[in-house]
Symmetry: C2
Subunit: 131 residues, 2 copies
């Protein structure tokens, strides 16, 4: 029984300033939520001190949205879990615009199904980027 779909998103080659900018990440979350017609229940945001990154987690009536950023590695990861059908969101252009991400990978993972079914889609920018 598939109870939902989770998108696991890896963004590398991001600019470190963006990865430390909680307001920018909150805006990005708002865009996902609005674009996909999701409904937030409550959230937790945490900025790690100094040069550290940001953790954001939003509980949705449709499941959850989360991010963790690693400015020291130019990397951000996102989880979007929807227990109701939703279209694909354009992580590629949104993360390139918001964070300067050079290389983005989106993996769909069907939740609740015991023989796992993965679908990984490499979305590489025109500029390419490290593997």
């Amino acid at each position: 029984m598939i109870v939902g779909t989770e998108w696991l998103v890896e963004a590398v080659g991001c600019n470190a300033v963006g990865l430390r900018d909680e307001a920018r990440l909150r805006q990005l979350f708002d865009r996902v939520i609005n674009d996909l017609g999701l409904k937030a229940i409550d959230s937790v945001w945490h900025k790690f001190p100094g040069e550290g990154g940001v953790t954001g987690m939003v509980a949705l009536t449709e499941s959850h949205l989360a991010c963790h950023t690693y400015p020291e590695h130019g990397t951000a990861t996102f989880n979007l879990y929807c227990c109701q059908s939703r279209p694909e969101w354009d992580w590629e252009s949104n993360l390139r615009n918001a964070l300067g991400a050079q290389n983005i990978t989106v993996t769909r993972f069907e939740r609740g199904y015991v023989d796992q079914n993965f679908e990984t889609q490499n979305q590489r920018s025109a500029a390419g980027g490290e593997a």
Copy 2:
């Protein structure tokens, strides 16, 4: 660059009462956190009304722990994301004991790595269970 490991856990054949019991799920989270020496920053818990399930999300200094339960399908899903190395947790016996889960699948997913590397481990109880 791998920035962390996420375990995606699917538990099916659970008893519906346990899947509606926020206190039991909070205890389960406490056990994960204590056993693995994790540190909680903040959390969101939500019980959906009536016969509905529970959503729990805990932001950790080491990333996050989340669950969503679906009593109508006897299913729970868990995410444990650690940006620091941690041993495998015994989801199999813990979920069997706490929720009566009959069939548990644990998938390790390395985060931040653009050419994804999956490792799925089917942990089936002696009783087997639906697929």
